[in-house]
Amino acid sequence: MTNLKLTDVAKTYSGNIDVLNNINLDIKTGELIVFVGPSGCGKSTLLRMIAGLETISDGEFTIDGERMNEMPPAQRGIAMVFQSYALYPHMTVRDNMSFALKLAKKTPEEIDTAITKVANTLQLTEYLDRLPKALSGGQRQRVAIGRSIVRDPKVYLFDEPLSNLDAALRVATRIEIAQLKESMPESTMVYVTHDQVEAMTLASRIVVLANKGIAQVGTPLELYETPENEFVAQFIGSPAMNLLPGKIVETGETTQVSLTHGAGVIASAVPTAADLKGANVNVGIRPEDLLPTTGENFAFESKIEISEALGEVTQVYFKRQSPDSAPVIAKLLGIHRNVRNTSMRMSAEADKVHLFADGQSLHYR
């Protein structure tokens, strides 16, 4: 039963360079929490602060109610899997995995039992006496994970563990990690990645970090269906959500919006208060939610410039409305031939129409 709690945690480097501010997070037992965000957003720094490899400049970090700010890493009950695996190159796989246990003065029998068990789980038994340089990338990754499991920690920390693997191996190892988590329902895991697919597939909850702070915390589907701000909206989901300029025409339980490059008004399931009438908003519609329409009211109409036939979907890129805006993208199911240079009218279901004012979602007002 391990709860981690971060209260008003901040990180500043000397010279008043602040990296993170106002981090408030409550991680419950058994969660697989994923920190995700663009490079430089501080996710690795936050993980390292939890590990104790970086000092916490402000705020408090507790594990099970006990303050951890000044506690050295070895006494926090954590184990960490590094991006580059960090295996000790001069030690065999067995010695790598038993290093921590020997330091903790466990008996040779205890060590042996633990290693045998973990080696079996991760299929490392035949590699136990090899040196890391004689292993493939995937095998090294499993040794790194094994090294953590052997210590039976309260919290597992993963720092972008799949980044150094090739694409196919990444998928396979991702599934292995998911299965590992299933087999350890009581363990708490904190996982850092820049890959939102990893985040979406592995996480029980995702923490999106941006602009030196937390952009949103929620389950994968919460982030997908009800993003709190434009950043999260465009970070989750690929290709990114389209943001189309528009204006609120009618407020109420459902909102009517008119879009600059559309016609008429379309409905959004986001309820709005009366004071928002006439407000300028960004209308967010995901590419997979844009459907061709023939009606008089539509969100967007333009010529298709590029069409990518992927088989299961056809991704179409509409002509840009202005030189510095991103092209609107739509994902059409199935195969659509000869759509280049044709004009298409697109709209979306009301519950797929998001509204953002000043970057914030009106869903949460």
């Binding site: 104790g52 970086e54 000092t55 916490i56 700010n69 050295p72 006494q75």
Partner: protein, 382 residues
């Protein structure tokens, strides 16, 4: 690991203190020599150089001015003055007029002299000698003082060692001789080695691997092995002992290191640039002069500094190939060895001469340390 949580500050302090202790330990021998070179013989013999910074108590014999300087005033004859030299800040504690009792009087006391005169000596050395009769004698009165002398430093040793032309043991000539040996011995190997290094790095030919291995092997060969055969050779072809012999020897001995360093560096140069030049039609010679040499500057500088320090500090090669019995050719290292033998107890000369000989390498070292370090690291870190 400054960012790790829970790092005890006591550990950090321990690290700082240990490092300070180690640095001081490594520094103090050189500092001792340096300080000693600024002291006079007397000062050196009164105590270790570590006492040089504080005042030391010395007992000396001083004299008042001669009676010729006496002035008459109101029936009293006076000699006034100061016992010490101009500008001295010594402070007298006790003094006396007889060599058997040098501490009869304290500063400020008045003593009665045998001829009825009195003498008063103040702490700063001011004295008044009075008598109702004319003072006689040719020389002044002897006064034995024990005084606290503040630290004094002198440049006399350096003047003596460097600039005194009559000083046969002077370093000026040796300095120029050392320079004469060092500069050609540094420049020539560079050029010869650069060409060879380029061939071993970028040209493909049978036996290349073998030659590289041979160079690595020759790096280890101790130069003691080469002394007799080469001396014989030099004598036979008529060079005998002299600068030419020394230059050739240093070149030969320095080549393995030069080729090794330069080749290691050249191998790391981007292949694209060279191949591009070849495609553009440049000959190997042109590629070497216009591309390789300029790009290899750091390695060239590293070796140059190595070789410079090595030849400047060398003793053995100079003894064998340069110095003959005429004494005309000598290098600073040899001079110092001589001084150790003949003037072993005269530390003011020894220290100064030694420091003159190590001054230039120290300057070169501190100025070009970056290159020296880089040269050392080439091929050493695996």
């Amino acid at each position: 690991m400054s960012g790790i949580a829970g790092t005890k500050s006591s550990l950090t302090w321990a690290v700082h203190l240990s490092l300070v202790a180690m640095v001081l330990l490594w520094l103090f021998p050189t500092v001792g020599l340096f300080v000693s070179s600024f002291r006079t013989t007397d000062q050196i013999s009164t105590g270790g150089w570590w006492k040089a910074m504080s005042s030391s108590e010395q007992s000396t014999t001083l004299r008042t001015s001669s009676p010729e300087t006496q002035i008459g005033k109101d029936g009293v004859f006076l000699i006034e003055g100061n016992l010490f030299d101009e500008g001295s800040e010594a402070e007298i504690s006790v003094w006396g007029t007889s060599s058997r009792s040098i501490d009869d009087y304290k500063a400020g006391d008045t003593a009665e002299l045998k001829n009825g005169a009195t003498i008063t000596v103040a702490a700063n050395g001011d004295y008044i000698m009075q008598s109702t009769e004319t003072l006689t004698g040719k020389r002044g009165q002897r006064v034995f003082v024990t005084a606290l002398t503040p630290p004094e430093f002198t440049l006399d040793n350096y003047k003596n060692v460097l600039f005194d032309e009559n000083n046969r043991e002077g370093m000026a000539k040796a300095f120029f001789n050392t320079l004469t040996v060092t500069i050609p011995a540094t420049i020539i190997p560079i050029l010869v080695a650069a060409f060879a290094a380029y061939a071993l790095a970028w040209m493909d030919f049978p036996g290349r691997a073998l030659l590289i291995a041979a160079v690595v092997g020759l790096l280890v060969v101790p130069l003691q092995l080469a002394l007799i055969p080469l001396l014989k050779l030099h004598n036979e072809i008529g060079i005998g002992k002299g600068y030419l012999g020394a230059w050739l020897a240093h070149t030969g001995f320095g080549l393995p290191l030069a080729i090794y360093l330069l080749r290691n560096y050249m191998v790391g140069l981007p292949r694209d640039i060279i191949e591009n030049a070849k495609v553009d039609g440049a000959t190997d010679f042109q590629i070497f002069i216009k591309i390789i040499l300029p790009l290899s500057f750091p390695a060239l500088a590293s070796f140059a500094i190595f070789q410079f320090l090595w030849t400047w500090n060398d003793l053995l090669v100079a003894l064998v190939f340069l110095i003959d019995s005429s004494g005309e050719t000598t290098v600073m290292t040899k001079q110092i060895v001589e001084l150790l033998g003949t003037r072993g107890g005269n530390w003011e000369i020894l220290a100064t001469s030694a420091f003159v000989s190590i001054a230039v390498p120290l300057v070169v070292f501190f100025a070009m340390q970056k290159y020296l370090v880089r040269g050392l690291l080439a091929g050493s870190v695996k």
